[in-house]
């Protein structure tokens, strides 16, 4: 029986689980795993919205992604919804950019004024409450961020100037 080679193939469930070549399957799985780690750690950060400050555009418990490459080619723009980091990337604020570096901004009776001109905000679903914010001038790397839900109490809504280096990326969807 010396030199006899078995030609019987492995059972179907083994082929389904590991393929015809376990070594290749292992390499494919490793490459896929590595790609997923790189993508979801450094490029697209998965997030779950908590709270109502971006309601109804991004309601409580909505799932989305932060695209970390969005501002590689250009700086953040007005209207972009961005993730703003705390000390790291596990927790972040989700806000809309309404003021850009160097601009003068004020909020009078709920209306945002940029350099003295009222800002059109088509993304606001409800009439804003009469929030007030005295005029400020944004620094060279400062953005003014705010949520889309202006019907809530301004004291329980985080909004204001934020440093550009805290902006992690733009919301994907």
């Amino acid at each position: 029986m010396n030199g006899l080679v078995s030609t019987s193939s492995p059972p179907w469930w083994v082929r389904v689980a590991v393929g015809r070549s376990p070594k290749r399957t292992l390499i494919r799985a490793a490459v896929l795993g590595l790609t997923l780690v790189v993508v979801f750690r450094f490029v697209l950060l998965p997030i779950r919205v908590k709270g109502i400050s971006m309601d109804p555009t991004y309601p409580d418990h909505a799932v989305n992604f932060i695209n970390r490459c969005a501002f590689v080619m250009h700086p953040p723009r007005r209207g972009d919804v961005v993730g703003i980091r705390y000390s790291g990337r596990k927790v972040m604020l989700l806000k809309r950019i309404i003021g850009l570096p160097g601009e003068r901004l004020r909020i009078t009776h709920g209306i945002v004024f940029i350099n003295g001109q009222p800002l059109q905000e088509p993304y606001l679903a409800h009439t804003p409450e009469p929030w007030q914010r005295p005029e400020i001038e944004l620094g060279a790397n400062q953005y003014f961020v705010i949520g889309d839900n202006r019907t809530m109490d301004p004291e329980s809504h985080d909004f204001g100037e934020v440093d550009g280096n805290r902006i992690l990326g733009k919301l994907l969807f």
Partner: protein, 164 residues
């Protein structure tokens, strides 16, 4: 060298490394461990007795330097300063009387050491579930820690405003 020899050697090296890390933890590991313990002590349950709360408040105050300076600026135009561990202890006890349930976690801890590794700055995000409310309170903190014979102590603590 054969694979059969290499694998056990690698395993042994791995076990040795983790045993060494456990036996002689790095300064960073020590600080992270102390911060985890501090978060556990800050947390409180409704079933905790008055004595247990007092005991954990006393232990918590032990994480701070006697001349600790704490600057808390959470709400706009609401600013509080604490300048000693005793005052801090009184504040903790008073705060706990008002809270039924508090669960605190520190995440995203970033540490920077001085060259001699005798002082460190920790930036972290504190998540607090207060009285079972659905949305956790979030606050970034900056801590200045100093190494003492009895471990790392918080010499300065201040809140960091992400949005001004």
């Amino acid at each position: 060298m054969k694979v059969k020899t290499v694998i056990p050697l690698l395993l042994l090296a791995g076990v040795g490394f983790f045993a060494y890390r456990w036996w002689a933890p790095s300064e960073e590991t020590q600080i992270r461990k102390e911060l985890r313990e501090a978060a556990r002590l800050i947390s409180t349950q409704p079933e905790d007795s008055g004595i247990a709360r007092l005991f954990s408040a006393r232990r918590l105050a032990g994480f701070f330097d006697t001349n600790v300076v704490i600057n808390v600026d959470i709400e706009r135009e609401h600013y509080e300063t604490v300048t000693s561990a005793d005052e801090l202890f009184q504040q903790i006890v008073a705060a706990r009387r008002q809270l039924r349930r508090l669960k605190v976690r520190f995440v995203d801890i970033a540490l920077k050491f001085n060259a001699e590794k005798t002082a460190a700055v920790a930036n972290l995000t504190a998540l607090a579930d207060v009285n079972g409310e659905e949305d956790a309170a979030v606050q970034e903190l900056k801590l200045l820690l100093r190494k003492t014979p009895s471990g790392w102590k918080v010499a300065q603590l201040e809140t960091v405003r992400v949005v001004n």
